[in-house]
Symmetry: C2
Subunit: 240 residues, 2 copies
DNA sequence: CCTTTAATGGTCGTACCGACTATAAACCTG
DNA sequence: CAGGTTTATAGTCGGTACGACCATTAAAGG
C-alpha cells in the first residue's frame, strides 16, 4: 500500500493525552480532570484534546499542558511521547487515535480551571482508581516509562526545582520506584557520574524543612544519559 | 479541552510506517519500497499504509508487514511501536499522522511484489541514503531504539532463527551496535543470565558455514529483560 | 601434516556496588 | 545548656561483574 491516492481512507480524530506527573509531599501525583459529560460522566480522566490542523502532536501536548496546569511557562518542562493508542473502540462516540505524552513537573501548583468548567486536580498516583477510557493503561505505561528512564538517563532532575539537594533527588527515585535506597551509596553513585549534577557555586544553603544537617545544593548537569546506569534493586522474586 | 463535542476538529489520515530490519551477510538491512508516484517519485521509502476503519495501528502494521514481506506467518515476529510522527507538513499532499513501528526478522527472504507494482527490496542500512518524507528520521529512530533495547532486553533473539549459536547472537549485537565484542566475555555474560538462552536438548550440531569448531545450538529463553544489562562499550569520547 | 578458523574454557586484576559504620551539623526537648 | 534526634557526609570492606587476556579443542583447507 504505497500510494495514498488510490486507496480510500477513513478520517480519524487525532488527540493527545497527557500523563502529568509530579511529587507532592513525597508521593507521586497525577493531574486529572473530572469529566463533565458522557461517556464516563463524573470519572477522572487524563487531560488532553484535539490536535489542531496546523499543530504537531508535540505542539498540541505542550499547549494542553499550559492550559491545564495554568503555568505561564511550560517550555522548559520535560515532555516525552509515550506511544499512540488506536484501538477502534477506545472511544464509544467515534474513532479517536490518541498520542500519549508524559510530562514531568518539579513543583505542583494547584491547577486553575483553565477557563473550563470541569475541575482539574492533583490526585495521588495509586494505580487503582478506574479512569475514563483507556487512561488507566496510559497512566500505567507512563509510570513504567518514567521508572525505566530513571535508570539510564538524568530524567530525575526533571522532577526537581532548579536547585535541589541530593536527598530530594533520592526521594524522586524512591517515590517513583517505590523502593528505599541506601543514602551514602546513592550519593556516591550520583557524584561519580560526570554531568549528572553540579554543585551550586555560591555555597550550600539548605532548602529543605529544617531538621538535620543542612544539605549542599546542586543543579542539573549537562549530561543526559547515565553510563553506567543506576539500576533499581531487583524485584524480590527469587535468585537462581 | 475536555469535551470532544464542543470543539471542531480536523480529520487526519492515519497511517503506519514500518522499519523492517534484518541481518543479511553480517550487515543490517532494511526493507524499502520504491515510490511509483509523486511526491518523491523514484525515491526509496519505508513500507506502510493507511489504518483501516476497524483496525488498530498494531493490526494495520502487522497486516502491512505480511503484505510487504510476503511471509505466510508474521504472528511470531517482533513488532514494536516506535513513536508517532505528526509534523503538519510531513506529507505535502495532505495532513497525515503516521504511527511508526520497528519489525525484526530472523532471516531475509527476498520480498515478492505483494501484488503491488512498486518493487520492495532489502537494502543495506547505511543511514546516509535519503529516503522519502521523514523516513530517514524514522529509520534512524528505529535503529536507536533497537540498539538501546539490546542492552537491557532479550530482543537480540528476534533477529535469530529458532535455533542459533552464540556466535550468531553475538553477530547481532556487533552488527547493530557497530562494535566488536570479546567472544569469551560475551559468552560468559549471556550464559550467566538465566532465561536469556537455553541449550537445545538434542545436542549441538552446527548450523553455520562450516569452518572452525562446531558450535552448540541454543534457543531463546523465557526471560524478556536482562538484569543486569549487557551494556555496549562506551563511545570513545574521553575519560574524565 | 600443518595452518587457519572458530568455539570453548579459564585466569587475573580492577572497578563498581551493596552493606555497613562513623562523624558532623543542624534542630528539639527538657 | 545537655543530651537526643535527624539528616548529611565520609569512609570501609567484601563480593561480584566485567574487561583484557591466554589456552585448548575441534573442525576445514591446503
Amino acid at each position: 500500500m504505497r500510494g495514498y491516492d488510490k486507496y480510500a481512507f477513513e478520517p480519524f480524530a487525532v488527540t493527545v493525552d497527557l500523563a502529568v506527573l509530579t511529587l507532592r509531599a513525597g508521593a507521586l501525583h497525577v493531574l486529572l480532570v473530572e469529566r463533565g459529560q458522557e461517556p464516563y460522566l463524573g470519572h477522572w480522566a487524563l487531560p488532553g484534546g484535539f490536535v489542531l490542523p496546523n499543530e504537531s502532536a508535540e505542539t498540541a501536548a505542550r499547549r494542553e499542558l499550559a492550559e491545564e496546569t495554568g503555568l505561564a511557562d511550560v517550555s522548559g518542562l520535560h515532555l516525552e511521547q509515550l506511544r499512540t493508542y488506536s484501538e477502534p473502540d477506545r472511544d464509544p462516540r467515534m474513532r479517536v487515535v490518541s498520542v500519549a505524552f508524559a510530562a514531568l513537573l518539579p513543583d505542583a501548583p494547584e491547577p486553575r480551571g483553565g477557563g473550563d468548567a470541569a475541575q482539574a486536580r492533583w490526585l495521588p498516583y495509586d494505580g487503582a482508581q478506574p479512569l475514563a477510557f483507556d487512561h488507566d493503561r496510559i497512566l500505567a505505561d507512563a509510570h513504567d516509562r518514567v521508572g525505566a528512564k530513571l535508570e539510564y538517563t538524568c530524567l530525575a532532575t526533571a522532577f526537581c526545582p532548579p536547585e535541589f539537594t541530593l536527598g530530594e533527588l533520592q526521594q524522586v527515585y524512591e517515590t517513583v520506584w517505590g523502593t528505599g535506597l541506601d543514602r551514602p551509596n546513592f550519593r556516591r553513585k550520583v557524584l561519580a557520574t560526570p554531568g549528572f549534577v553540579e554543585p551550586v557555586p555560591g555555597g550550600g544553603a539548605r532548602l529543605t524543612g529544617g531538621r538535620g544537617k543542612p544539605a549542599a545544593l546542586y543543579r542539573a548537569g549537562t549530561a543526559t544519559t547515565l553510563h553506567p546506569p543506576l539500576l533499581r534493586p531487583p524485584r524480590e522474586g527469587r535468585s537462581a
